[in-house]
């Protein structure tokens, strides 16, 4: 079991990086608690696979250190870091039987055949592979082969963490959920640190206790699925998580109000009444599912002209233009759109203020 | 990793020693060769090369070889390209058998065809011509070309052909302006293999020629049996036959690996 710590870690694929853009991974400090299930979420090219390869030891970071339970493993090769990895496409030894595949890591560590037998039996049971232990691994379907690849990590008692590199990409859609359920069970039973890299938000939020969102080589937020949806720490997280993503309106700040095109919108109470610093970029962020659309003039609200309605059956997404911004509102199936003009109402506790793309909130101990 | 490098270096030395010895010989006079055993030529001389490059009965050998090798490469490619496209894109009646039949030709020993080729080409008046040798070498070069090109062509997605047809391209225009440029590396590697197997062959080339199209390989074997063999000139002639090969490798070196797996990898 391992508590993985990154201290001032940074990486660039160029020999002499100087500008910020040269860095695939900008300098970061980060801790992966022991026994937790993390998802590493971000669009392709945001550096998440680079970070995974640095943790697994396949890539040496340009600067900074990687520590497993306080021990500096930055220079240790992959095989000495006691990690297991499940790749994007199933990596199995085709010519071996499933049993030999699972026994392979233990045999390499010269463990007695008797102990191997019950260890492999136990894992095969956990992964529902008992029925095909005698078959050649190459003949099985991709989801079974991906389980074997996972099993090779689980059989080892000395494994400190299991790393997943978008493991469900090649799995057929209808098999995905059974594998996701299996991963969740494994996490509950094995108490191993799990790090799961993906660009798919559903995959990340379903799998992980904590989601690490990355954007252009930087960790922009670490939080539970709840945090990501209700309090995105960065405008990118608001945009990337949730479909459609968060609405953002540029605005000014006046005490506990955001002022959009002359309209005063009350903000959440824990928004600090910081003095506005000139030159800062202020934005008001609200998710389409929290934004309300009404057709009789409310006390406080923004007038909006409806430009488009997408009917998804179980819900409707209305696109409206207000004060030079385009906003989207999610309406339930029964809500009706009565007419072309409406008013957008901003529930205070759901209206978040962003300064230079970062959430402006009372510091709650966690520096974002 | 030590053992790995040792084996490789040992093997490369094993390859280079005989070649070095040939070169060493080619710069010595005959007397020195037969006289003393020297690792490096005492009296360095270019006479042997001068003999070859001035005497038409010698240098014409190279010219003839290059002519029929180039002819063979062009014919093999021209014929194999459309066929490989057919095998790569379509299934048609008898395609499996035809492909296998082509491969069996590659397995046919040239010696078997000595007699019939000799008679065939003499009867149609092609004996002792470059085209005769070029055509004879098609026996093994065409099957190989089809096999390699089909491998490379299968790397190009079929959707590209369809997009071209959707855009209104006729087949010939698509094949020449879009498809051939896409498999440039494949064509380069196939040319390399055709050159290689045609340039090195002796039996058919010697049997089907006498004077006008006699290849260098045949010229060299003839002088071997003459008495009082001039080793220096022979070594020089041998050294010169390696030059064209080395040049061709250098041009296709980046695609060599893929080509050697006959485009399959």
């Amino acid at each position: 079991m391992a508590r993985i710590e990154l201290s001032r870690l940074a990486h660039s694929y160029q020999r002499r990086p100087d500008k910020a853009e040269d860095f695939a991974l900008k300098p970061m400090d980060h801790v992966w608690e022991d026994g937790e299930a993390y998802a590493l979420l971000g669009p392709s090219g945001c550096g998440k696979t680079t970070l995974l390869n640095i943790i697994s030891g396949l890539l040496r970071p340009t600067s900074g250190h990687v520590l497993f339970d306080g021990r500096d493993v930055t220079d240790l090769p992959t095989e000495d870091r006691n990690i297991a990895q499940v790749f994007q496409f199933p990596v199995v030894y085709d010519t071996m039987t499933v049993y030999d595949n699972l026994a392979f890591p233990l045999r390499n560590r010269k463990i007695s055949e008797h102990e191997i037998q019950n260890r492999v039996g136990e894992i095969a049971e956990m992964l529902d592979l008992v029925f095909c232990l005698k078959q050649r691994a190459g003949t099985l379907a991709s989801d079974a082969r991906q389980k074997i690849s996972l099993g090779r990590g689980l059989v080892r008692t000395d494994v400190s963490a299991i790393l997943f590199d978008e493991p469900l990409t090649v799995i057929d859609p209808h098999l995905k959920n059974s594998l996701r359920r299996k991963l969740e069970e494994i996490h509950r039973q094995s108490k191993l640190t799990l790090i799961y890299v993906t660009h798919d938000q559903t995959e990340a939020l379903t799998f992980a206790d904590k989601v690490v969102v990355m954007h252009e080589g930087e960790v922009v937020q670490v939080g539970t699925p709840q945090d990501l949806v209700e309090h995105p720490a960065h405008t990118f997280v608001g945009y990337f998580v949730g479909s459609p993503g968060m609405n953002f309106l540029s605005c000014d700040v006046d005490g506990n109000f955001a002022v959009v095109d002359g309209q005063r919108i009350r903000l959440a109470d824990d928004t600090p009444s910081g003095a506005e610093r000139a030159g800062d970029r202020w934005e008001l962020g609200i998710r389409p599912e929290f934004l309300q659309l009404v057709f009789d003039r409310p006390k406080e609200g923004l007038q909006a002209k409806i430009t488009n309605i997408e009917d998804f059956g179980s819900s409707k997404i209305v696109t409206a233009a207000a004060a030079g911004n385009t906003l989207r509102v999610r309406l339930a199936e029964e809500d009706e759109v009565r007419g072309e003009l409406g008013w957008l109402v901003f529930p205070p506790e759901r209206s978040l203020l962003y300064r230079n793309a970062r959430l402006f909130r009372e510091p709650t101990g966690r520096r974002q | 990793m030590k053992a790995r490098h040792l084996l490789l270096i040992g093997y490369v030395i094993f390859l280079m020693l005989p070649l070095y010895w040939l070169l060493n010989m080619s710069f010595k006079t005959n007397e020195e060769i037969l006289g003393a055993f020297t690792l490096f030529p005492n009296e360095f001389t270019l006479d042997n090369y001068r003999v070859i490059l001035t005497d038409p009965s010698w240098y014409m050998g190279y010219v003839n070889s290059i002519i029929y090798v180039t002819l063979n490469t062009v014919i093999s490619l021209a014929v194999a390209l459309p066929a490989a496209y057919a095998f790569s894109r379509y299934t048609f009646v008898g395609d499996k058998h035809l492909f296998f039949w082509l491969l069996t030709n590659r397995m046919a020993p040239p010696a078997v065809f000595l007699l019939p080729f000799f008679q065939l080409y003499s009867s149609i008046g092609l004996f002792d011509t470059h085209i005769a040798v070029a055509l004879a070498h098609c026996l093994f070069n065409v099957p190989l070309s089809v096999w390699i090109l089909e491998g490379f062509m299968s790397g190009v997605p079929k959707e590209i052909d369809e997009t071209a047809f959707l855009d209104g391209y006729s087949f010939p225009r698509f094949f020449l302006t879009i498809f051939i440029p896409l498999i440039r590396s494949g064509i380069g590697v196939t040319a390399f293999f055709c050159f290689m197997f045609s340039w090195v062959e002796l039996l058919l080339a010697r049997t089907l020629t006498s004077v006008n199209a006699k290849p260098i390989a045949a010229i060299m074997t003839r002088t071997v049996s003459a008495s009082g063999m001039d080793w220096g000139v022979l070594a020089a002639a041998g050294a010169l036959t390696i030059v064209p090969g080395a040049l061709v490798i250098w041009f296709v070196r980046n695609h060599l690996a893929k080509g050697f797996a006959l485009g399959r990898v």
């Binding site: 095989e79 | 490369v12 010895w21 379509y90 082509l102 020993p109 039996l203 080793w231």
Partner: protein, 290 residues
Amino acid sequence: MTKTQNNRAWFLVLPVVVLVAFSAIVPLMTVVNYSVQDIFDIENRVFVGSEWYREILLDDGLQKALLRQLVFSFAILLIEIPLGIAVALAMPSRGRWASLTLVVLALPLLIPWNVVGTIWQIFGRADIGLGGVLVTMLGIDYNYAVNPFDAWATVLVMDVWHWTSLVALLCFSGLRAIPDAYFQAARIDGASNWAVFRHIQLPKLKNVLLIAVLLRFMDSFMIYSEPFVLTGGGPGNSTTFLSQTLARLAVGQFDLGPAAAFSLIYFLIILLFCWLFYTTMMQLGRGPRV
């Protein structure tokens, strides 16, 4: 690659069929034709059925030549395939060194076969050849012109020098196609180099190894120029293989019937062995796509 059914593809294949028919079928027909006749000259011929075939099969000299050829070809395979794999494993896989090694290894394949014979003819002489001198220095009295075993061994070493690179290059391209993830997984599983070779590299090499075995068997079974130049088939018949025997029969003594019969038997033997190699290697699991 889903292929569409289209018989008009025959137009594309026609040129190959015509050319290879002209350079293979027509000659083969004449060979078959001659193999069943006794020919004095163009006008009078006599149908003799399978007489030549019986004569060839029972001919003691040819049986010995066939045996020598088989022993030679299998020795070739036993040496060149493992050595080729070893060299391929030792080759650098990326960067400048890789293409340099590729060029050096490919060089012997581009030397005309008779020049290979000439090189070794000089190299192996005990008096003026570097190889000959080295061997005699080791205390072995070595003379390939006189001693049958020395001659046979020299032809063998020459062929290993000439063709092992082909096996090495084929295996090299096979190894390079293995995705890196397999090696990373093996390292994570703590696999030894031998385990990596046995369970990842070897299974993935099966396709190219089949091609290597087939090519090497065919070419070694048809070898003619190199031994012809090096030893002329001597001393005695120790290095006279099938191709040379056939060439002597067909072009030398000019009796067409036996030569044609011999040719067909020779061709059928090769086809048989190639088919045997192909099916046995296919049984070892998924075979290549032909």
